[in-house]
Each structure stands twice: as structure tokens, then as C-alpha cells.
Amino acid sequence: MTETAEREKLIEVKNLKKYFKVGKKAILKAVDDVSFHIYRGETFGLVGESGCGKSTTGRTIIRLYEATDGEVLFEGKNVHAKMSRKELKEFNKKMQMIFQDPYASLNPRMTVKDIIAEGIDIHGLAKSKKERDEKVYELLETVGLNKEHANRFPHEFSGGQRQRIGIARALAVDPDFIIADEPISALDVSIQAQVVNLLQKLQKERGLTYLFIAHDLSMVKHISDRVGVMYLGNMVEVAASDELYDNPLHPYTEALLSAIPVPDPNYERSRERIILKGDVPSPVNPPSGCRFRTRCPLATDICAQVAPKLREAREGHWVACHLYDDEYKHAFNK
């Protein structure tokens, strides 16, 4: 673990907040005071149920949304600072995104070649038309397509192939960091594995850093080095992926893990499942104190009064729950 302490932090998210106005008065706190960091070369998984703010976090990091408060540091520089057009271009080149829906994220009126080359054109990465074409062909091969595909349109491809085009587009500008927002949720199981394997291969070859956002915990565990669990705009637990799955500390993480059906009938028959009551509350009017307390089987009075802070319960394992806080631990008599 001492090794990780020396590793370079590529991304540092500090007290990030993103609020949306809904209607005249109400404010939806999609991301509320979230902090974490991503080391260079690793895959950081972000999981949580719909509406927990994981996608908003991803989109705010890449500056698709302006942050309400807090900052995102990329190589030590603030992403949301005022940048000149040139600086912004430079930044955009380093950070790319792969979107969830391979049907909606490709322009249907552009050929695959133009889709992939858009970044190359904008950043002037090819000197001649020939070089541009060659770059595109090379990218297509990298993602497991071939150059005959270059002049076709998105509708001629299957979902898995489209996602490969999306990956090729992201790779075109040779980024350091890729945010993959649910890149496989829209795909069939057998195709999901193909895309995940491709992402891992590319990471090895190019030393990429990933933020992998998904709700499928087993896939996140498979691909990630470290995982962050979000609930209703808060980060509730961050740990190395094996540690998180073997020793979940937060009651929400525990319930989430226990809810996943495992493709093993014997295991399914014998396991005791923690079934959470009710739904995720509205982020417009979240519960006081700990936001999970309304569904938490262990909640006590203190949970309603004080919001728990993310603290290091074990080395490299952070959790936001009073259960692991010396000050409040006594309130739980398990």
C-alpha cells in the first residue's frame, strides 16, 4: 500500500458539487461534496443506482457541466478554471469520453471515417488527407473493425460495433484519460465481454487511465483497480476493488453486493440476501444527516442528525458511516 501513496494522482476531485435548478425554487443536488482521486494508469470504477450522481460526476469532470462548487484537478490543474481557447483545446485532447448509448452518441449523417477523424481535424493531428485516412484505418483495426468500415454510416453497424466506433473516436486524439459512462449497459452479455476485453487491452498498450461508470457491480469489479460507491449524490465508500467486495464496510455497499444475483444456482439457493426497503429518496429533498439512513437497517438517531464524513477506516479503504467513527460508534449496539 505504501506504493500507492507514491503513485501520481492524475485526477483529483475535491469537494465537487453539482446542483441543478428544477422549477423555480427547488434545487436538485445531483453531486454533493464528492472527493476522490484517480491514479495514473488505473481504472477507477464508479457504481451506484440510477440517480446517485455517478454520471453527473463523470460529466462534470470532463467539463460537460460547470461545477457548482469544488474543483477537479487534472495533472494538478483545475479543469473548471477559466481557460483560453488554446488551453481548453489542449485539455480536451487529454480527456475523452465514451457514452452509454451507442445508438445516440454517433451522428447518423456522418460516415464512420468522419466521426473518428473529427478530433484529428480539430486538433490538426494529420497533415494530409492520406495521413488522416491512415490514422482512421489504424484506429479501426485497433478496436477490432477494418478499413472497409470507414465509409459506412452508423446505422449499418450493430450495437457492439458502434461502441467500438465510439472507442475509436475517443482514442483518435491519443488521450491520457477516458471516462466511460456505462459503455456496455446497452449491449448483450457476449458482446459486453468483447468490449471490456478491448478496453483492458487498450489500457495495457497505451497506459490509459479510466473512469468506468456503471451500475453492473460484477463488471465493475472485474475491470477496476479501485471502486467508489455513490448514493444520492454522496460518495459512501472507496476502496481497492477486491477489498471492497470482500470486506464491504458501508451498509449500503453490503446491501448492493448482496442484491446482485450470481450465476450459480447452489449459491443462490443458500445465500441470505439483505433486501433494502423502499426506494432511493428524491435528491431534491434528501434526508437529513446520512442520506442512506431511511433505508439503512442499522440507522440510529445520530444518523439523522449528523452527516457522516468519508474517513479512512483501514488503509486505503474509505467509508462514510458513523459505524466506523470512534465518536459515534457507541450509538450502535450491534
Binding site: 448483450d188 469489479k221 442484491a259 450465476p263
Partner: protein, 340 residues
């Protein structure tokens, strides 16, 4: 156990501008009383079309049943008139759809939507039906049912809507319930609630369930028997234990090993290369042959017959022919216990 539903050699095709798409190509299935049968497969494998054919909900005139029989209660459902079918649909066989956001009518209170079937099929009066609707909402775990019965779908969350859909489906005590990806649109913690509810209700009402899903975790949790579909055909059927621990078809192997394991670390997933076949021009032989790592010459030319491996397990694969070379399943399955 007696069969409550029997599908015999079903062929269903869609007529499109691009020609005939043979979505279901000779499916044989039986559903036993009180069991849960899972149909698994990728999109386009024909699993939803099979279930919609049972309900006779195929779009007309695009789709047609080319041949085959579906026996339920001594009647062949494919031969019934629309009027006769209406008596069965929603009362004896009912269905839960994937998307709880679109399967409810947004302009009707949920009470009215539950009462619809009760009044039509069971000829209940308004007050009785309302009473029964409230009981049903209570049964599916919706708090404060007296007040909720008057509300509209938009006032419910996704999980709650799926509960309402289940209440509607179970209103008339159906003998067969078809659940088409009932939890795919839901979050995992809500999925766990809904699966639990379905199992609980099945125990209470002795309903037989056909569960259509692509999630093998859900299958392991819910089903007693499994049918694996690929390219419009059932390539393997068996009990859950047979399918998960002793699968014989390479496609089943592929499906099981392409899923990440929660309890172990694997470096690389075993992906199935390629894409599913185009059913407007279906392959002559085994539909999986182009993607199968063990494909032989014969696989491309002829569709294999079913080999009966046990009383419950049947597999259509040339590898099981005595002349075929011995092929071992991938290690992850051979070790036993996918998921462990």
C-alpha cells in the same frame, strides 16, 4: 409433473421490406405446473417472440405463425379466434413487460387499470373490484394501498410501477405468468425486491412462470428449468443445475464464461467472438457454428438433432455425436460452480 403449456415445433416469421425474417424456427417447449422456466438468449434470439406468440400479441400483419401448435388447457392457442383469445389473455395467461414506464396507461388511475381485468374476466361489481384491487396492491407490497389505488402511474417510482404491473398480471389468478425481462429496467436493490416478491407470490398462488431474461444471475435465482435460445432455436434445455454445472452446448459455455465472476478474479473474460446470425438469411446448419470455436464441417451444413442427456437435459450439438472429437468445456465451467 403435468404440463400446463406445450409448444410444438413453432415457427414464427416477420415479413419486412428486406424479406422474411425467421425469428422463431422450430421451438419445442413445455411448462410444468408451478415451475419457473427461464428462457435465456441474446437480443434477436427469438425469446420475446416466442412469449408474445403464446399471448398472441404479435404485431399484425407483419408477423405470422407459420406452423406449430401451442397447447394450453386442451386448446391450441394458435387456432383460437381473437375473441376466444381475449378470454384467456389476462385471466388464465398474463404477462409482465420489461418497461414499467411504458406498460401502464398514464391517463388511467392504477386502481382502474387493475380493476379492468377483474371486471371483464371475473365479472366483479365496481365495489368488489375496487376492494380486490386494494388487496392486490397490499399483496405486492405497496404501502397505504387505499390512497395509492386512486393515483396515477407518474406518481409511482420504477420499482413501485413494476409492482403495480405485477398486481395487474396476477389480478385474475392466472395459471401461467409470462415475465419478459421483468427487472431489466430496475436497479439491483429494487430488482432484488421484485424477484423476491415474484417468488413469494408464486408460492402463494401456484402460478407457473415463464421468465425471459438475458441475466444468468436472475435465472440462477429464480428458475427450476432453463431453455437456452440462439438464432431462433432452442439449443439446450435442462434443469438449472444441469445448465449451470453440466452444460454441453458451446453457446451455453460461452454465455457462462463471458460473465464476470464476483467471487474470483479473472484477467480476461472469455468473450464469444462475432455477432448473432441474421435471421432474414438464417444459416443452413447450426446457427452458432460461425461463432463456435469447436465448429466442424458438418455444423455449417446440417442442424444437429437433440441429444437426450438425461430425463431433463437435451442439447442440440454435433459435438455430442459419437463420431465427433471429444471437447472439454472451458476451465471456468469444468471447475464447477460458475460464480464461485
Amino acid at each position: 409433473m403435468e404440463n400446463i403449456l406445450e409448444i410444438k415445433d413453432l415457427h414464427v416469421s416477420f415479413d419486412t421490406y428486406g424479406g422474411e425474417v425467421q425469428a422463431v424456427r422450430g421451438v419445442n417447449l413445455e411448462l410444468k405446473k408451478g415451475e419457473t422456466l427461464a428462457i435465456v438468449g441474446e437480443s434477436g434470439s427469438g425469446k420475446s417472440v416466442t412469449s408474445k406468440t403464446i399471448m398472441r400479441l404479435l404485431p399484425k400483419p407483419a408477423a405470422r405463425i407459420k406452423s406449430g401448435e401451442i397447447w394450453f388447457n386442451g386448446k391450441d392457442l394458435t387456432k383460437l379466434s381473437e375473441k376466444e383469445m381475449q378470454k384467456i389473455r389476462g385471466s388464465e395467461i398474463s404477462m409482465i413487460f420489461q418497461d414499467p414506464m411504458t406498460s401502464l396507461n398514464p391517463t388511467m388511475s392504477i386502481g382502474k387499470q387493475i380493476m379492468e381485468g377483474l371486471r371483464k374476466h371475473q365479472k366483479l361489481g365496481k365495489q368488489e373490484a375496487l376492494q380486490r384491487a386494494i388487496e392486490l396492491l397490499d399483496l405486492v407490497g405497496i404501502p397505504n394501498p387505499e390512497a395509492r389505488v386512486k393515483q396515477y402511474p407518474h406518481q409511482f417510482s420504477g420499482g413501485m410501477r413494476q409492482r403495480v404491473v405485477i398486481a395487474i398480471a396476477l389480478a385474475c389468478n392466472p395459471k401461467v405468468l409470462i415475465a419478459d425481462e421483468p427487472t431489466t429496467a430496475l436497479d439491483v436493490t429494487i430488482q432484488a425486491q421484485i424477484l423476491d416478491l415474484m417468488k413469494d407470490l408464486q408460492n402463494k398462488m401456484q402460478t407457473s412462470i415463464i421468465l425471459i431474461t438475458h441475466d444468468l444471475g436472475v435465472v440462477a435465482n429464480m428458475a427450476q428449468r432453463v431453455a437456452v435460445m440462439y438464432g431462433g432455436k432452442i439449443v439446450e434445455t435442462g434443469t438449472v443445475d444441469e445448465i449451470f454445472y453440466r452444460p454441453k452446448h458451446p453457446y451455453t459455455w460461452g454465455l457462462l464464461s463471458s460473465m464476470p465472476r464476483l467471487h474470483s478474479k479473472t484477467d480476461e473474460l472469455l468473450a464469444i467472438p462475432g455477432t448473432p446470425p441474421d435471421l432474414s438469411n438464417p444459416p443452413k446448419g447450426c446457427p452458432f457454428a460461425p461463432r463456435c470455436p469447436h465448429a466442424m464441417k458438418v455444423c455449417v451444413e446440417y442442424m444437429p438433432d437433440y441429444t437426450t442427456l438425461s430425463e431433463t437435459q437435451k442439447t442440440a450439438c454435433w459435438l455430442l455425436d459419437e463420431r465427433a472429437p471429444k471437447v472439454e468445456p472451458p476451465e471456468i465451467i469444468a471447475v464447477g460452480g460458475a460464480g464461485k
